[in-house]
């Protein structure tokens, strides 16, 4: 039914998207908390930097990743020397690229969910003796859960489609970085590759649609659990 090439592309896409979403999620929660609750000098700048992947061309982001996280880059060389970790040309690197591109989406969704929480509930929790971490764990986090889930799925779906930053940073290596979008691109560049491209496009469509439907269902279940009708 599916050729080995297609199976490889799909499983790689799922792997990359899953890892990128999971690793970026805690960072996104922290960033969203800061943006929703904290006031400090430079907050707008912080907000702007977080949203850069949304407005900059993906290739630019990929290039920035290349010069910072490549083996000669500031952070990349440190990673290589200290931990032996190489990100370029690897699926780990593809996850990083996908993660960076989908980060602002996650932050936005979570931030909105946090801001939607009635601030009075926190005041009530304080009067009942709950300190800041206690309140975060028992009040803020559970009430933000639907938003976190929605942000995570959005990021997952976006990661499935990430192309520009991926191909610029980690290039197009079968089995490592050739996710569905890159496989589609390769097929379109190959003479008479249009049939293969069409098959891959159909696969990509199915995958993304399933992700979105799953997110809807999950969101509804969580909302019910949280007591919203």
């Amino acid at each position: 039914m599916l050729t080995p090439l297609e199976i490889e592309a799909v499983s790689l896409s799922l792997w990359v998207a899953s890892w990128s979403t999971l690793t970026v999620l805690p960072l996104a929660i922290v960033a969203a908390l800061i943006l929703a609750r904290a006031e400090f000098w430079g907050k707008s700048l912080f907000d702007g930097i977080i949203h850069l992947p949304l407005v900059l061309p993906p290739v630019v982001i990929g290039y920035l990743l290349l010069i910072t996280l490549g083996t000669r880059g500031v952070i990349g060389s440190w990673l290589l020397e200290t931990f032996g970790i190489r990100l370029i040309f690897t699926s780990a690197g593809a996850s990083v690229a996908a993660g960076v591109m989908s980060f602002p989406l996650m932050v936005r969704a979570i931030r909105l969910a946090i801001e939607a929480i009635d601030g009075g509930l926190e005041a009530a929790a304080r009067t009942l003796g709950a300190g800041p971490i206690d309140r975060f764990l028992t009040i803020t986090l559970p009430l933000t859960l639907p938003g976190i889930l929605s942000g995570a799925v959005m990021a997952f779906a976006a990661s499935l489609g990430e192309f520009g930053a991926t191909i610029t940073f980690v290039s197009n290596i079968p089995g490592e970085t050739r996710t569905l979008p890159l496989a589609i691109y390769t097929a379109t560049q190959t003479p008479d590759g249009d049939l293969e491209a069409a098959r891959l496009v159909a696969l990509s469509f199915t995958l993304s649609l399933s992700a979105l439907i799953l997110s809807e269902w999950l969101g509804r279940r969580v909302r019910r659990m949280m007591g919203r009708p």
Binding site: G120, L121, A123, T127, G129, G131, P142, G227
Partner: protein, 369 residues
């Protein structure tokens, strides 16, 4: 006991409040919207910080600007009932109730779930979710949650304001029970004269960020200098009475108060039961001699002790009944016609059927209005 004296400036609003709330009964903060009442209990809770002053609870310092003490909210052990209940939507009623309790060390848990649930009638609600409850039910759960947090003081910020008349009537008796059975100060903020007259043991009148008057409801209800702050056109003396006897044949009940007796239509109350009664000033007629062959049952002998300002056609007259006071509203014309002045002995006439405003007094039984 609560001892509070604070100052706070916010923009153009200047707050300068000082009062004490005893450990028993309800201390009501009463005044119009924006007078600073909510700022006061937020300061007691620690949700806002005054610029200067002190807040002491049973001798323990919650706030003292001079000594730079400001105990954080979560450590103050205050029970706060918010106007909008603020129940946690993602928890069941039971989990809401236990939220504060769980954060108190085992050894300090005096107030327990069952008695509170019984007191507030919320047993059948325990497994439900807040969004399925009515407004009155939600507020009762909110009260229960605050109580179970083992508070040293109970703060209630207009808890009945967002309820309709039926829900209010449903929950008032529960608050009266709290007043009578709890041993911690209850500070109750309200802008409704009815609520305050019914519930308060001590009344603190607040206006423009200042305390205008403090005292019992009875005392403040007859003060002429408060321009009917309590009750407006329905202003009148509030008397705490006790039931002394019933006469089933004539369908009348006798109530004794400090300074006399009142005859009212038959009430289904036991002998000795306390009852708080309001006599509206406009229901009081003044006579220089007791009239005969008249339908009025209550002719209370007293002496004019104060006359209100002569603004408009009517004038308020304060009468000393020897222990209690009464307010009468008569026309300025009559004041001149009868030569009413401070010191004039008078008879205050009140119709028995004018007593359609009865509330249970402190530690009193509930009667439907």
């Amino acid at each position: 006991m609560l001892d509070i004296a604070i100052k706070r400036r916010q923009g153009s609003f200047d707050l300068d409040i000082a009062f004490q709330a005893p450990s028993q009964g309800v201390t009501a903060l009463f005044g119009p919207s924006g007078s600073g009442k909510s700022s006061v209990i937020n300061a007691i809770a620690g949700l806002s910080r005054p610029d200067a002053g002190h807040i002491l609870l049973d001798g323990a310092v919650l706030f003292d600007s001079a000594r730079r003490v400001d105990v954080p909210v979560e450590k103050r052990r205050v029970g706060y009932v918010f106007q909008d209940s603020r129940l946690f939507p993602h928890m069941s009623v039971l989990d809401n109730l236990l939220y504060g309790l769980r954060r108190v060390p085992q050894g300090e848990r005096r107030i327990e779930l069952e008695p509170v649930a019984k007191l507030l009638g919320i047993d059948p609600l325990l497994k439900r979710r807040p969004h399925t409850l009515s407004g009155g039910e939600r507020q009762r759960v909110a009260v229960g949650r605050a109580l179970l947090a083992q508070p040293r003081i109970l703060l209630m910020d207009e808890p009945l304001a967002s309820l309709d008349a039926a829900r209010k009537a449903e929950i008032l008796p529960y608050i009266e029970r709290l007043r009578d059975e709890l041993n911690i100060p209850i500070v109750f903020v309200s802008h409704s004269a009815d609520e305050v007259v019914r519930l308060a043991t001590t009344l603190v009148l607040v206006a423009d960020g200042r305390v205008r008057a403090t005292g019992t409801v009875a005392e403040l209800s007859v003060r002429l200098d408060l321009d009917g702050a309590i009750g407006g056109p329905e202003a009148g003396a509030v008397l705490d009475t006790t039931v002394v006897s019933h006469d089933p044949d004539s369908r009348l009940t006798a109530l004794r108060f400090n300074g006399g007796e009142l005859t009212v239509p038959l009430l289904s109350l036991g002998i000795g039961q306390p009852l708080r009664v309001r006599i509206q000033a406009r229901d009081v007629i003044l006579a220089l001699e007791p009239p005969s062959r008249i339908s009025v049952h209550n002719m209370l002998e007293g002496r004019i002790i104060e006359l209100g300002e002569a603004t408009g056609p009517s004038r308020d007259v304060k009468i000393d009944l020897g222990g209690s006071f009464l307010l009468a509203r008569v026309t300025q014309h009559s004041v001149e016609r009868l030569g009413l002045a401070v010191g004039t002995p008078v008879f205050a006439l009140v119709k028995s059927v004018a007593f359609d405003r009865v509330f249970p007094g402190p530690a009193g039984k509930h009667i439907a209005l």
